[in-house]
C-alpha cells in the first residue's frame, strides 16, 4: 500500500481514538518480530470498532505486511459505562443487578461472584440449599456461555451452521432461567445471603430433561467440527501460547487450561457447593486454538456432570441466610474470585462501614485474557486474528465495564 494511504490511516486512527499525543503514536512503535525489508509493504488497518467479527466494539489496530500480522494494539473502552464508579453511589443490594451487565452472556456467574464477595465481607454463609441452586444455575450458565462462544467462534471461522444449533440448545437454558427468575439474560438470580426465589415446581425435572436433551447435542457439535479437515487446519497451531506465558500475563480460564496448566478455582479454592461434587478439569497440551476448543467442549460435559449430581442431591432447607435489611458491612476489604466461564472473575470490595461500598474493583477475565492477543497473533495472518479473538472468548461489556 502506498505511503499516502498509510498516512491517511494514521490520521484517522488518531481522530477516532482521541488519545493523548503520546498514545497516538503507539501503533507505529509496536515491536517488530523481524527487521522489515523496507516499509513499502506495511499497511495499518483498523479492525473494528464496527466489524462483524470483533464481538461488539473491540477495535484492533493491525500492522500488516501483506496479510501477515506484525503487531496489534487493542483499543478498548467503546462500551465503558463506569460500572465500578456506579458501585460507589449505590447500596450493596442496589449494585447487584449492575454486575449482570458486565458479562451479559454469563450474568449468573457475575452475580454469584458479587454476592459471595459481599457475604464474605459480612461474614455470613448462604444456606446449603441456596448453594446448590447457585451451582446448578451457574453451571447452566457456563453451558450457555460456552454454546454462544462455540457458535460465534465457528461463525468467525466461516462455519455458519453450528451457530444455529447452539442457539437452539441455549434457548432451553434461557427458558429455565426465565421460569426461575423471570429474566432470560441479565437474570439477577441471586441475592446477598442466598437466593430470593425458591425453585419452581418441576425445576428439577426441567433440568434433568435438559441434561438428557443436551448431551447428544454436544456430540452433534463435535461431529460438525472436531474432525473437519478445514476446521483442523484453521485451528491447529494457531494462536499458540505457552503455559508460562499465560501465567505471566495472568490469563485464566479455558485459555490457561488449554496450555496445560491445571488451574480451576472450583477445585483450587472451592466456593459455593463445588467441593461436594466430583468432576474433572480438562486440560490441553499445545495451547492452540484447537485445544481451547476441545477444552471448552469437555467443560460443557463436566458441567453436565456437576448439574446432574447437584440436582440429584439438592438438600431441603432455607434458601436465605440471616442478612440485615440494611447491609452495612464492617470496615475492611475483601477479594473474592470465582471461576466464571471465561476465567477468574474477582471482586475486590472496600467497605468504610457505610451502606455503600467505598470502592469496588472487578477483575474481569475477558479483559486480562485479551492482553494475550498480541502475543498469540504475531506472525499469523489476518484470518487468524479473527480466529484468536473468537477463541479468547471476550465479552466487550466485561472488558470495558
Amino acid at each position: 500500500m502506498s505511503a499516502a494511504a498509510k498516512d491517511d490511516t494514521k490520521e484517522n486512527a488518531n481522530d477516532i481514538s482521541g488519545h493523548a499525543p503520546h498514545a497516538i503514536a503507539s501503533p507505529l512503535h509496536l515491536q517488530t518480530p523481524e527487521k522489515p525489508y523496507l516499509d513499502s509493504n506495511e499497511l495499518i488497518i483498523n479492525m473494528g470498532p464496527q466489524h462483524p467479527a470483533t464481538h461488539g466494539v473491540l477495535r484492533v489496530i493491525l500492522r500488516l505486511d501483506g496479510e501477515k500480522v506484525l503487531g496489534t494494539e487493542c483499543v478498548i473502552g467503546y462500551l465503558h459505562r463506569g460500572v465500578e464508579k456506579i458501585a460507589e453511589n449505590r447500596t450493596y443490594a442496589m449494585f447487584n443487578p449492575y454486575v449482570d451487565r458486565m458479562d451479559y452472556v454469563a450474568a449468573v456467574s457475575n452475580g454469584l461472584g458479587y454476592c459471595e464477595a459481599v457475604e464474605k465481607l459480612l461474614n455470613v454463609e448462604a444456606p446449603p440449599r441456596a448453594d446448590y441452586i447457585r451451582v446448578i444455575l451457574t453451571e447452566l450458565n457456563r453451558m450457555a456461555s460456552h454454546q454462544l462462544w462455540l457458535g460465534t467462534h465457528a461463525l468467525d471461522i466461516g462455519a455458519m451452521t453450528p451457530l444455529f444449533y447452539t442457539f437452539r440448545d441455549r434457548e432451553e437454558i434461557l427458558k429455565i432461567f426465565e421460569k426461575y427468575c423471570g429474566a432470560r439474560l441479565t437474570t439477577h438470580a441471586f441475592r446477598i445471603g442466598g437466593c430470593l426465589y425458591e425453585t419452581y415446581a418441576g425445576f428439577e425435572k426441567d433440568v434433568q430433561n435438559f441434561l438428557t436433551f443436551v448431551a447428544p447435542k454436544i456430540d452433534e457439535y463435535e461431529e460438525l467440527l472436531t474432525t473437519n479437515r478445514i476446521w483442523l487446519e484453521r485451528t491447529k497451531n494457531v494462536g499458540v501460547i505457552s503455559g508460562e506465558d499465560c501465567v505471566a500475563l495472568g490469563v485464566t480460564g479455558p485459555v490457561l487450561r488449554a496450555s496445560g496448566v491445571k488451574w480451576d478455582l472450583r477445585k483450587a479454592q472451592p466456593y459455593a457447593a463445588y467441593s461436594k461434587f466430583d468432576f474433572e478439569i480438562p486440560t490441553g497440551e499445545n495451547g492452540d486454538t484447537y485445544d481451547r476448543y476441545l477444552v471448552r467442549m469437555e467443560e460443557m460435559r463436566q458441567s453436565l456432570r456437576i448439574i446432574e449430581q447437584a440436582v440429584n442431591s439438592i438438600p431441603e432447607g432455607p434458601i436465605m441466610a440471616k442478612v440485615p435489611k440494611v447491609i452495612k458491612p464492617p470496615v475492611g476489604e475483601i477479594y473474592h474470585s470465582i471461576e466464571a466461564p471465561k476465567g477468574e472473575l474477582g471482586y475486590f470490595i472496600v467497605s468504610d462501614g457505610s451502606t455503600q461500598p467505598y470502592r469496588v474493583r472487578v477483575r474481569p477475565p475477558s479483559f486480562v485474557n485479551l492482553q494475550a492477543l498480541d502475543r498469540m497473533v504475531r506472525g499469523l495472518l489476518v484470518a487468524d486474528v479473527i480466529a484468536v479473538i473468537g477463541t479468547i472468548d471476550i465479552v466487550l461489556g466485561e472488558v470495558d465495564r
Binding site: 502506498s2 505511503a3 499516502a4 494511504a5 525489508y37 509493504n41
Partner: protein, 195 residues
C-alpha cells in the same frame, strides 16, 4: 489489382467458407472494433491513472481479439483473451495496486524527453504512411480462405506435429516453454524478499 478481380476474390472467399460461417456486417464491425482498439490505445498512452490505462488496454485487447475472430483465427483470439486479458492484465492490476498509485496520479504524466519521443513516433508514423501509400502493391487485396472449423487442429499440427512426426514449430514450442519456466523463476526470485 483491378476492382473486378478484387470483388471476385472476395466472393470466392465467402463462398468457400460456407454460407453459415461468413461474418455479418463485416465493415461495420471492423470499424467498430478497430475504433475501440485505437481509442483504447490512445487512452493507454495518455491517461494519468495507471488503472484507467489498464482498463483501456483491456478494451484494446478484447477488440483486437475480436479482430482475430474476423480474420478466422479463433484459436489466437481465445489465447489472446485467456492469456492477455485474463492473465497478464490481472498481473498488471495486481502490481499497480502494490506500488504507489496515489503519487503517480499527482505526478507529471510525461518524462523529460517527451518532445523527442513524440517526434520519433511521428517519424515512425510518417514512415508507415509512406510505406502504405507507395507500397500498396505489396499488400494485395486478396484474402485466401482458411478453414475455420479445423483451425485449432491445424495450429496444433503445426505446433506438435501429427502422426508421430515433429511439427514445423515443435522445437520452437519447447523453447518457448523453457522461456516461460525461466521467466517464472526469474519473477519469483526478483520479488522474493529473502531467498
Amino acid at each position: 489489382m483491378n476492382p473486378g478481380l478484387h470483388q471476385a476474390l472476395i466472393a470466392v472467399d465467402t463462398t468457400s467458407i460456407g454460407p453459415g460461417m461468413a461474418p455479418v456486417a463485416t465493415p461495420f464491425f471492423f470499424y467498430l472494433l478497430s475504433g475501440l482498439a485505437i481509442a483504447g490505445g490512445f487512452l493507454v498512452s495518455t491517461r494519468r491513472n495507471p488503472v484507467h490505462c489498464a482498463l483501456a488496454l483491456i478494451v484494446t485487447l478484447i477488440a483486437v481479439a475480436n479482430l482475430y475472430l474476423m480474420l478466422y483465427a479463433p484459436f489466437v483470439a481465445a489465447v489472446q483473451i485467456m492469456v492477455y486479458a485474463g492473465g497478464i492484465m490481472v498481473l498488471f492490476l495486481f502490481v499497480i495496486m502494490l506500488v504507489s498509485i496515489e503519487r503517480a496520479s499527482r505526478d507529471r504524466r510525461f518524462n523529460r524527453f517527451w518532445p523527442v519521443g513524440l517526434a520519433t513516433a511521428c517519424g515512425l508514423m510518417a514512415l508507415f504512411v509512406s510505406a502504405f501509400v507507395k507500397g500498396r502493391a505489396l499488400f494485395p487485396d486478396r484474402m485466401i480462405a482458411i478453414p475455420e472449423g479445423s483451425n485449432t487442429q491445424q495450429v496444433a499440427s503445426m505446433l506438435y506435429g501429427e502422426a508421430g512426426r515433429m511439427g514445423q514449430y515443435t522445437f520452437a514450442f519447447e523453447i518457448a516453454s523453457l522461456l516461460l519456466l525461466v521467466a517464472i523463476l526469474g519473477a519469483v526470485i526478483m520479488t522474493k524478499k529473502k531467498i
